[in-house]
C-alpha cells in the first residue's frame, strides 16, 4: 500500500467519523471512541509513528477522560431538568443534564480522537507531500515545511534569549508589570532575528527562481487517479449515514 493510498484511506475514515459524530446516538459514538483506542494498537496504519506521538496520544486520552467527566458533571449540575440521578457530596445531579453532558462529551471525544489518530499515525512531511500531489500550491507546501523547521528551532532560541535577558538583569521574576516588560525584551530579538532570517531565505528563494517559476519547483508529480475501493467505501458509508439521518429527521 502506497503512502498516498494510506493517507486517502485515513482521511476518508476521519470524514466517516465526523459524520458519525454529528448524526449517531451518543452510545454509538462512545463505543466508536473505544474502538479507536483499540485501533491505535491493533491496526498497523493507525499506530503512532514516533514514541513522541504515542506519548501525545496516551496523554490526550487521560486529558479527554478528565474533560468528559467535567462536562458530564457540570451539565448534570447546571441543567436542572428531570429527576435527580445521583448526588455527589450532597450536590444533586439531574438526569437530563447528565444525558446532555454525555451527548456533548461523546461527540467531542469522537471528533478529537479521529483527528489525533490521523495525525499521530501520519508523518507531517508525508502529509504535505501528499497534499502537494493533490494540488496544494508549492509555496504553501514550503511554508508548512519551513514551519516544521522553525518549530524544531524556536523553543531552543526562546530559551537562549530568555537566559540571555535574565543574565542581563531583565525582571523575569518580578511583578506582573515588570514581567510584561520582560516579554518585549524576549519577543523583540526573536521577531527581529526572524525577519533577518526571512529576508535571507526569501532572497535565496528569489535567486533560485522559486517564486517566478513555481511550476519548475513542483517536482512532485500529481498522482494519477487510481481506484481505491476502501477509500470509496468509507466515503459512501459516510454519505449513507448522513442520508439515513436526514431521512429520519424528515420523517420525525
Amino acid at each position: 500500500m502506497s503512502t498516498g493510498q494510506s493517507l486517502s484511506r485515513k482521511l476518508a475514515l476521519v470524514l466517516l467519523l465526523w459524520v458519525c459524530a454529528f448524526t449517531l446516538p451518543w452510545t454509538i459514538q462512545a463505543s466508536l471512541c473505544v474502538v479507536l483506542i483499540i485501533a491505535r494498537y491493533a491496526v498497523l496504519p493507525l499506530r503512532p509513528i514516533t514514541p513522541r506521538s504515542a506519548k501525545a496520544f496516551s496523554r490526550f486520552i487521560l486529558y479527554s477522560i478528565a474533560v468528559a467527566t467535567f462536562i458530564i458533571l457540570l451539565n448534570g449540575l447546571l441543567i436542572k431538568e428531570g429527576a435527580v440521578a445521583a448526588k455527589v457530596f450532597g450536590i444533586p445531579l439531574h438526569k437530563e443534564g447528565l444525558l446532555f453532558g454525555a451527548r456533548t462529551a461523546s461527540r467531542l471525544l469522537l471528533l478529537s480522537f479521529s483527528i489525533l489518530l490521523f495525525f499521530v499515525s501520519t508523518s507531517l512531511p508525508d502529509l504535505i507531500e501528499h497534499l502537494q500531489t493533490k494540488g496544494l500550491p508549492p509555496y504553501l507546501a514550503l511554508v508548512l515545511l519551513l514551519t516544521l523547521h522553525f518549530l524544531d528551532q524556536l523553543p531552543a532560541r526562546i530559551h537562549q534569549i530568555f537566559l540571555a535577558q535574565q543574565a542581563r538583569g531583565a525582571p523575569v521574576d518580578s511583578g506582573l508589570l515588570s514581567r510584561t516588560k520582560a516579554l518585549f525584551s524576549i519577543l523583540s530579538p526573536l521577531v527581529l532575528s526572524s525577519i533577518v532570517e526571512s529576508i535571507e531565505r526569501g532572497t535565496a528563494l528569489e535567486l533560485r527562481g522559486f517564486l517566478q517559476r513555481p511550476q519548475v519547483a513542483r517536482v512532485i508529480k500529481r498522482s494519477e487517479s487510481e481506484t481505491d475501493w476502501l477509500t470509496i467505501s468509507l466515503i459512501l458509508l459516510a454519505l449513507a449515514v448522513l442520508i439515513y439521518r436526514i431521512v429520519q429527521w424528515l420523517i420525525a
Binding site: F60, L116, S198, L211
Partner: protein
C-alpha cells in the same frame, strides 16, 4: 488582472514573506512557552497571526492562523481544528484594519484590539458552546460556570465569558505587535509587503 483569492495570496506570499509567515505560525504555537516562563496570564496564541496581518497582509494572516491551528491539532491538541473560523476572523479583520492604517496610532490600536476581542468572542461562542458545552479546561471556565449558574443558556454564558476575557487578551496582543513593529528597523520592515500599513499616507520613504 486576476482578482481571484489564489492570485491575492500569491501576490502577498512573495520574497521574505514566505519564511516570515512560517516563523509566525511557529510563534503562534510556541508563544505560550514564553508567557508560561514569565508566568503571565495571557494566551498570545494569535500574536503571529496579528504580526502577519500587519506586516504581510490579510490573506497570509488567514493562512498563518489556519495552519497554526491545524498544526496544533497535529501536535496533540485536536480541539484547535474547530477554532479555525475564529483565526480566519482574526486574520482577516486585523489585516483589514492594518490596511486602513489602524496600526499607526496607539489609540486606533486600542480600539481595534477591543473590537477584535468582541468579534473573536462572537465567532468562538457557538463553537465552544455547541461542541464543548463551554468547557475548555481553562481558568475562564469558572466565568462560564458563573454565568450559567445565574440562569443563562450555554451559548449566552460562553458569549459573556468571551466578551469578558477576549477583548483584554486581544488588546494586549495588539499592543505587543504595535510596539514590536514600531521598534523594528524600517530597512527591514520595508522588505515585507505590509510596510505601507505602517507608513503615514504622505510618506514617500
Amino acid at each position: 488582472m486576476s482578482f481571484s483569492i489564489r492570485q491575492r495570496i500569491t501576490d502577498e506570499m512573495s520574497g521574505a514573506a514566505l519564511p516570515f509567515v512560517a516563523f509566525c505560525i511557529a510563534l503562534n504555537l510556541t508563544a505560550g512557552q514564553i508567557t508560561a516562563a514569565l508566568k503571565i496570564p495571557l494566551y498570545l496564541d494569535s500574536i503571529g497571526t496579528i504580526l502577519v496581518a500587519v506586516l504581510v497582509g490579510p490573506w497570509s494572516a488567514v493562512i498563518c492562523g489556519s495552519a497554526a491551528n491545524l498544526l496544533a491539532a497535529a501536535l496533540g491538541n485536536p480541539s484547535m481544528i474547530f477554532f479555525i473560523p475564529v483565526v480566519v476572523v482574526i486574520g482577516a479583520f486585523t489585516g483589514f484594519l492594518a490596511r486602513r492604517g489602524w496600526f499607526r496610532k496607539w489609540y486606533l490600536v486600542a480600539i481595534g484590539g477591543v473590537l477584535q476581542g468582541i468579534l473573536a468572542a462572537i465567532a468562538s461562542a457557538p463553537i465552544s458552546a455547541y461542541l464543548f458545552s463551554g468547557v475548555m479546561m481553562a481558568g475562564t471556565d469558572f466565568l462560564v460556570l458563573y454565568f450559567r449558574s445565574v440562569g443563562n443558556t450555554i451559548l449566552n454564558s460562553v458569549l459573556y465569558q468571551g466578551l469578558t476575557s477576549d477583548p483584554a487578551d486581544k488588546l494586549v496582543s495588539y499592543f505587543i505587535v504595535f510596539f514590536l513593529v514600531k521598534n523594528l528597523p524600517q530597512r527591514l520592515i520595508s522588505r515585507l509587503r505590509g510596510a505601507s500599513n505602517l507608513r503615514a499616507p504622505d510618506s514617500t520613504t
